[in-house]
Symmetry: C2
Subunit: 352 residues, 2 copies
Amino acid sequence: MRSEDIAKLAGVSRSTVSRVINNYANVPEATKAKVLRIIEQYQYEPNSFARALAGKRTDTIGLFAISMNERENASRIYQNSYFGPIVDLVVDTANSLGYYVLIHTVYSPGDFQKIKQAYQQKRIDGGILVGTQKDSELVREMVGQEAPLVLIDYDISEIMAERLNKNHLAVINSMDYEGTVHAIEYLIGLGHRSIGIMKGRMSTFSGRERYVAYEDTLRKHGLPLQEEFILEGDFLKETAYQEAERLAVSGIWPTALFCCNDDMAISAMEAFTAHDIRIPDDLSVVGFDDVELAGRMNPKLTSVKLPIHEMATAAVEKVIALCNAEESAFSTLSFPTALIVRESCRELKEHE
Amino acid sequence: MRSEDIAKLAGVSRSTVSRVINNYANVPEATKAKVLRIIEQYQYEPNSFARALAGKRTDTIGLFAISMNERENASRIYQNSYFGPIVDLVVDTANSLGYYVLIHTVYSPGDFQKIKQAYQQKRIDGGILVGTQKDSELVREMVGQEAPLVLIDYDISEIMAERLNKNHLAVINSMDYEGTVHAIEYLIGLGHRSIGIMKGRMSTFSGRERYVAYEDTLRKHGLPLQEEFILEGDFLKETAYQEAERLAVSGIWPTALFCCNDDMAISAMEAFTAHDIRIPDDLSVVGFDDVELAGRMNPKLTSVKLPIHEMATAAVEKVIALCNAEESAFSTLSFPTALIVRESCRELKEHE
DNA sequence: CTGAAAGCGCTTACAG
DNA sequence: CTGAAAGCGCTTACAG
């Protein structure tokens, strides 16, 4: 069934059929109704490729999850508590707005090609980029393509430094700096003076923000930065486990440990527990993200909640707005975090 | 940059360019190399829509997650521990095989349209259907379309009953019956005689299988089916919580409860704990699926592991084989489950 | 208000 | 081995 067939059946031309499908103004109600009836009756659907080829939208957005460091694992984004929800949320939001979503994960530099191809082959109207390793070069290239693009978790200053037209670009962030300050000051308020950190991946905007906020806050409160309590977790479960174990074995540790994401916090707690370091009695732990597991484990993890729902929703709305040229200015949105206090931190007594 | 441009640059015709892109046999190496060099140099990518329109593959598969009962929630598949991993695994597998994946969730009968459209508009080469409510009518309709289709968790006998050509169809299941028998017999082996069940959604193949296996096994071992210990959890967390709470309040409960998925098992445990019923001291619990949380909670949940990784991978491989017409017979694959014993069940003493 | 025609960028018989 | 041409199914100026 092609538009030609519908045209014949309705006694009009293909042009008219196309006009009613695309809801043009200058079609009389009667003609419109007639055509619509036939379309309905035969359950006709215009071929999306032909439409796209003739210059129409594809009604699909791309979602690209970049996870360069986790190549080895068989199931990869799957292993990460951060991507799963983002993917699901983006799909749900886009679908409910009438868009399909085309997904591709990238684990190696070569996979980047797939992103470019999706744009060049015109498979999508616009795209969303999440994940680590969104290096400037890639972004510059994408921005150069003039296709709608939304970046989640990206350093705005890096973009501002580029001399490009970025009217089809938007950036969505969470207020990680503030969230981290909040968490550290909460620990300080509980009486902690010796606070360590399990760092995230520093190639990431959020990884850097969280670390800098940690340093700033300690400094602001006149607390020392202790090299030996700065662990390199890289946002990864396994790495965090090893780092925590190393600390446990060393025999000395801080009274509190701020972890730059929950995956690492949870792994660290497992490592500590395995070495008979009790949480929160012997060590207080705070995480970041507030994944589902945080509220279900034992002890329940105190964590900074990432506004992941808002971020994913906003990302979808932004690309769509950009695709429809409803918006044409570079925009940036940052959503607030919230400290969710649970059971993994304890108050230090005066003399401790 | 179009194939025409490449042709000019290479000093050949569009036909030849097309032939080298599609790797036709009858192009001399020299010509091929020349064309390839230009393509490489200009980073040319053929327009995917034009190709598809001219009869080529789209190189994308559809993934449709059906979740009709969970309409209300803001973030829906997201809430379900089953879909997330499937989505991620399918995307990962398909991507690594060079396919894009187009995702759409369906929450209402109207959303079904989207699935049909994706096929009719030729957006995908083939598709995978997961989730509940895969009613015969839908399947009949899809099978009628002659497009490659893989069904995950579906009753084969229902398909066999249809008088359709199903050479573009495949079904992927897990051996839930055996898995359930295994779990129930494990409980019986621990000395349990009073075993309840938290049922899944009965509109689902796996929901029915697990329930039937439960009944059969009790019967086989001469144990009574106690109406009051048969709970309707519907595979949903909230429903399961309420049902468990109802049981707790009633004052009498079985010595063991088999839950048809982990989401329900975990919620039930929370409800019991809230009512001072200790797991496993006062009540043993077994789940199904073996989601990540199962091994991380306290006490750790004993559960039947769903071969979700194998299922997702097989589903992708099947659709692709079907798309490439490498396979043309109706096929069905069923993967084994495994009982993962942890801490949520205890042995009953002789006199209990 | 509406139809005939050109065009979107490919692929693939058809000739040669 | 390779080019000219038709065709895939739409949309959209262009005329009228």
